[in-house]
Amino acid sequence: MAEQNKSRIDADIESLEQGVFTGEEGGGERSSPQKDFIASIIIALFGLITMYTSVKLGSPADLSTAPGLLPFFTGASLTLMAIGLFIKTKRRYGIEEMLKSKSLKSFKDSFLNTESRRTLMLMIIVGTYVFVLGQMDLDLRFKTNFYTFRFSGFELISIPFVYFILRYFWRSNVLNCFLVATGIVVSLAIIFRDGFQILLPGSG
């Protein structure tokens, strides 16, 4: 991924030097013939399923007002675009390059490289965090004369989550990670809940 990001900047610099238009988000440097081939198949299938589902919606009145009218045409044009992507990739790289499958070893190597592994790990951690926070329903209040301290499911789940993710990615010591995690989560909770009166997730 570091390579990819570096190449985005490099691609931008190169395009500036050559005066070539790379678009607002670019993307060419991240793609490959194999990826485009896979994408064209998935998108074509998606388009076909959409067309079928749109037809099944039926029409309560006239065909021109049918609820599936635009979805049908969108599905149809999506399928055409997928075919277009396939043809364009074939013209650029040739069918052999598109169908060239990576060996199992190179696939395993690319999947198990540090960055891909870290990305997958991050997805799992964030997914778990979102799921666990969704199960929480806690809002404890400690009233004092000048302020009502609150501790909700948001803090309960977010502090250990941020701590864990900092330990994994930042790799600082336990105390630093704990202090940063607690400080940030509590500050965010105060800003959102007390400052802007926004209900926090996990707080019932």
Binding site: L70, P71, S172
Partner: protein, 495 residues
């Protein structure tokens, strides 16, 4: 007379101390955010929509305008001082500015960038104010057929502009967004579409969690796993550039301002295209003596890039306010904030929300002045921030994504939606698909769907050729849509 009264009453609201404070907060957050490598303007805008839900209408607008103005400039700081563009549109500034920083002129390069950003914002605001009445007048002539065609053109041109040499990928992204927008109860017959029996989907898919997922979580998934050590910033030195020097670049600045505003008004083409195009044209137009300096540290090049990307702000607000079509992904976040505060954007903005358009003009002007002051004040503190690793900053943004998406409608379903769109966005990114067309299509999809069917009902008893003759604006739009696809398939494809 009515308008002067309206302008004065909106100015009275905008110049309240609390409003100025909120704008200052937005600008400060925006500059710091934009200056941090990997944190883009769109990400800032997407995440802070959540924070704006707890604000009143005017406060939320002022806050978002402050963030927008601040974050577009912020990218220049890291570009000059650590050779990493804070935002992608700062790449030209990075090429020139860092060379100057290595020659001990980093402060002057940044000072030029600040001044250029200030001028760029002004050009964008002036052109926005000048063109809004004309575009609103034109937009009021639009009926269902024209609105449908305009929406489809918005998605098509956004796809073309976002994906560079593969516009087909931009269109696919936009069409996937259209599919997402169809989920829910159909507005004409009340039929549920693509809900697969899930009741929560009957309300449709809100684009705010989608925006937060695609531009917040996706960015985190892209950046956090990278092992990049923090870079040591260059010396800042003197910041304010001599006025005489700046006057010498006024022609380049004016030209870049116009380019930036026009690019901003085209859906999907944002600050990146504006600064790149302006930099390229600037190089071709520069005097021979100056041209030799391009790529080795040229102040004129910095002026071209920074004026253009800041003028883009005013430009992007033009279609957003008058047609309800966001000029870019960051403007989509502004649109979301406006809609959440019950501001109906589009041709009827002035009748349905009297005065709000003047408030936005004044807000942009205030944000611009505050940006100028805060940019100078924040350069040195920002240098210290660069020593913080991304692995420390990025994890802290994840709870903001969760809080922001939940705050929109206090539904945990939106948080799951944000998570799914973040992961899908990451996969699409890896396959080289741009994300902005998808967001734009989710916003424009319902508009296109409803207006197409309404138009077809109206045209029921008419021959197709009478529609072509009787609706000239529609016919022009059909030609524009066809040309957009033709240009993408045949011309850009060959390049």
């Amino acid at each position: 007379m009515f308008e002067i009264h309206e302008i004065l009453s909106q100015a009275a609201i905008a110049f309240q101390l609390w409003m100025l404070w909120v704008c200052l907060l937005g600008v400060t957050l925006g500059i710091i955010w934009g200056a941090m490598p990997g944190l883009s303007t769109t990400m800032a805008m997407a995440l802070l929509i959540g924070l704006s839900t707890g604000m009143s209408q005017h406060v939320a607008i002022m806050f978002m305008l402050g963030v927008y103005t601040g974050s577009v400039f912020g990218g220049a700081i890291s570009a000059v001082l650590i050779n990493i563009p804070g935002t992608p549109d700062a790449v030209p500034t990075m090429i020139e500015g860092h060379k100057l920083a290595q020659q001990g002129q980093g402060g002057l390069a940044l000072g030029t960038a600040i001044m250029a950003s200030f001028m760029g914002n002004w050009i964008g605001i002036v052109l926005l104010i000048a063109f809004i009445p004309a575009i609103l007048f034109l937009a009021l002539q639009f009926r269902s057929w024209e609105m449908f065609l305009l929406s489809m053109w918005g998605i098509a041109i956004c796809g073309s502009m976002a994906a560079g040499d593969m516009p087909i990928k931009g269109w696919i992204s936009g069409w996937i967004g259209l599919m997402i927008s169809f989920v829910g109860v159909d507005a004409i017959h009340g039929v549920t579409r693509f809900t697969f029996g899930i009741r929560t989907l009957e309300d449709g898919i809100s684009y705010v969690p989608l925006l937060i997922g695609l531009f917040g979580l996706t960015e985190i998934l892209k950046v956090l796993p990278q092992n990049s050590p923090p870079k040591i910033p260059s010396e800042v030195g003197k910041i304010i550039p001599p006025l005489k020097k700046l006057i010498g670049y006024s022609r380049a600045a004016f030209r870049s301002g116009i380019i930036g505003t026009i690019i901003g008004a085209i859906p999907g083409a944002g600050a990146n295209v504006a600064s790149f195009l302006s930099y390229d044209i600037g190089r071709r137009r520069a005097k021979a003596q100056e041209r030799k300096r391009w790529g080795k540290g040229s102040y004129e090049a910095i002026v071209c890039a920074e004026v253009a990307n800041n003028a883009n702000i005013g430009g992007s607000m033009l279609p957003t306010l008058t047609l309800g079509i966001p000029g870019n992904a960051a403007a989509a976040a502004i649109l979301a904030a406006l809609e959440m505060k019950n501001v109906v954007v589009g041709p009827t903005i002035q009748t349905e929300n009297p005065g709000i358009i003047f408030f936005i003009y004044i807000g942009l002007i205030i944000a611009n002045f505050l940006m100028y002051g805060m940019a100078i004040a924040l350069i040195k503190p920002c240098v210290k921030l660069f020593s913080l690793p991304r692995t420390l900053l990025m994890p802290l943004i994840i709870p903001i994504c969760v809080m922001g998406s939940f705050a929109v409608s206090l539904s945990y379903f939106d948080v799951y939606l944000m998570l799914i769109s973040g992961i899908v966005g990451y996969i699409l990114h890896c396959f080289g698909f741009p994300l902005a067309p998808m967001v734009l299509a989710v916003i424009l999809g319902p508009l296109a769907d409803e207006n197409l069917r309404r138009a077809l009902m109206v045209f029921e008893d008419q021959e197709w050729w009478t529609v072509i003759i009787d609706r000239p604006i529609g016919t022009i739009l059909i030609i524009i849509v066809i040309y957009t696809f033709y240009d993408g398939i045949f011309r850009r494809g060959k390049e």
